[in-house]
Amino acid sequence: MIESPIAREREQGLALSPRPAGAPNELRALAALTWYPFLAMMRNIATFAFGFLFPVVFISVFGLIGGGGGGPRLGIPSGSDRGPAYEALERYPAITLIPGDRVELERQLRLGKLDGVVSVSGGRISLEVNSASPASQASRLFVQSVLDRLNLAATGVTSPSYQLDVSEVAGRTDRYIDFALPGQIGFAVLSTAIFGTVFGLLFLKQALILKRLLATPVHGITILLGQALARLIVSVLQTAVILALGVFAFGFQLANGLVTFAGMVGMSALGLIVFLGFGLLIAGQATDENGAAPLTNLITLPQFLLSGVFFPTDVFPAWVRVVADVLPLTFFNTAMRQVATEGAGFGEIALPVLGMCVWGLLAYAIAARTFKWVPIS
């Protein structure tokens, strides 16, 4: 036989002679159809933007909103006497002094941007407050407290006869980040489950990837299960990233530490499985992005606005709440907040979890009936 590359390969057993393939191993196929699509997803810009970048940016913004001290911001006109009174005000930890021109400071006070304008003239401290602002009214207490200290010091009293002992219960301050972070997890999970699945699956249809896979001895359900598992990994990673950022950068409080962390990750996994039903429902019917976009937005946008992602649902009038309270993302956010801030166990969130599951079953039932594997050409 003539020595050719093919003959050599045949000797090495590499030639492509017909030979029955090994029986398909559905588990090995599932592992591959989870891992490789997961890799592809992580390299995809849309997954990164919706799943990681947006929530991280939102969290950072919300974290900074809640970051300012709780005390009053007082304007102090340039030209105030820099005596002991001034120093005492400056040293008082809760008060933030903002020097500036008197006219400008008073304008800002009227606009509610300052809590007061304080001026020092010798032993006299005068405070202007904004009658419309409770925070401004409260600022007089802080200034009064500074004044009391000065008076006591002036009269030589080092240990006052009457003292107020304030003790604090070991509780938590409910800051905006504590409200916003679970909402952002909801946003990320819903985005990954619906936007990711709809546009991801449509891409697989249009790029003929789904068709190419369906020509192999793998069951369609295995392909979908792999997609679902890959998105599950993505959403668990999202939750972990958002939580890590919240805890380490913005002091987000986990009610019971690691137990709460695990609970929140578990909740987001459950959320992903439920919301995935909606993603499959939309992706199974649409043949292109134009067909999918209206339904996708119809399902996601009202939930982003009404389900307590950015602000609590109790700001809505009763008739809106009737709708808002039964949306799947509302159930998710409610359960997630209870786990996050109250350390709720499964028994306490059973009702919203049940609500989610009902929605999920509904979505999967419809998706199973209407799913189309390939675009009708």
């Binding site: 492509l16 191993n25 196929a29």
Partner: protein, 271 residues
């Protein structure tokens, strides 16, 4: 377990079925999409080890015919058997006997060639060395390149590689050379001949008559869902000449393709 394995290996060792026994048998195949008739009652056979070409203008029903054989579409009526297995009855047995190259793409753009090969190997439950497969198709330098960064010729070579990963008996190629430059096309022809010479049966659709003439052992010409003529390229030409057809003879000892290839060489350019 052992008994089954022995039966399997016996079947493959005993080798090819009798020459007269076709590998693929298509009978009275019909496919309607609503009122549109895409495939209108065609019958043909493909022999073990041959390269069979399906020619025809756009919309003739080539791709639909191919997709029915590939288990991707169900016929309205008629039967297809591959290696004695009815495609409608046991699509799963058929799927592991065939390899499929679609008209375009079909791969995750964000995965490297090695990753894609590993994914397909797992799906077919075979073990391959991705580098050996890539080397065979002159793609070893592209091992860690993403699929979407390949040139047209490289994509088609890679696609061919994935169709062969599980050593199928037959591969289906839908317009494999459409859009390729002459060098890439010639290169793919060489690869297809190599694959055929190893005993793999090929079913190819194409728009290029030259390709069909050069590559295919037998050809079926389709139009409006029907096979209007079939046979070896030589026989088809003889038949036409027998009708009295004569091409106006222009004495031309070279074609523009010869000019192009002599100027630019036959070496592949897509790296």
């Amino acid at each position: 377990m052992w008994g089954l394995a022995t039966v399997e290996s016996c079947r493959s060792i005993s080798g090819e079925p009798a020459v007269s026994d076709p590998l693929i048998r298509v009978e009275s195949l019909r496919k309607h999409f609503g009122s549109v008739v895409a495939v209108d009652g065609i019958s043909f056979e493909v022999q073990q080890g041959e390269m069979f070409g399906i020619l025809g203008p756009n919309g003739a029903g080539k791709t639909t015919t191919l997709e029915i054989m590939e288990t991707l579409q169900k016929p309205t009526s008629g039967t297809v058997t591959i290696d004695g297995v009815d495609v409608l009855h046991d699509p799963w047995a058929v799927k592991s006997r065939i390899g499929v190259q679609l008209q375009s793409s079909g791969f995750y753009p964000e995965l490297s060639l090695v990753q894609l090969l590993e994914m397909f190997a797992a799906i077919y439950n075979v073990h391959v060395n991705p580098m050996v497969v890539l080397a065979r198709f002159q793609l070893e330098e592209k091992a860690s390149t993403f699929y979407n960064r390949l040139s047209g010729g490289q994509k088609q070579r890679f696609s061919l590689a994935t169709t062969l990963i599980h050593r199928p008996q037959v591969i289906f190629l839908d317009e494999p050379t459409t859009g390729l430059d002459p060098q890439a096309r010639l290169n793919l022809w060489d690869l297809l001949r190599e694959v055929r010479n190893e005993g793999v049966t090929l079913v190819v659709t194409t728009h290029y008559m030259e390709e069909a003439e050069q590559l295919c052992d037998r050809i079926a010409i389709m139009d409006r869902g029907q096979i209007i003529k079939s046979g070896t390229p030589r026989a088809l030409i003889e038949d036409l000449l027998a009708t009295g057809f004569r091409k106006p003879v222009i004495r031309q000892e070279a074609t523009m393709e010869d000019v192009f290839l002599s100027l630019t060489g036959r070496a592949l350019r897509d790296d």
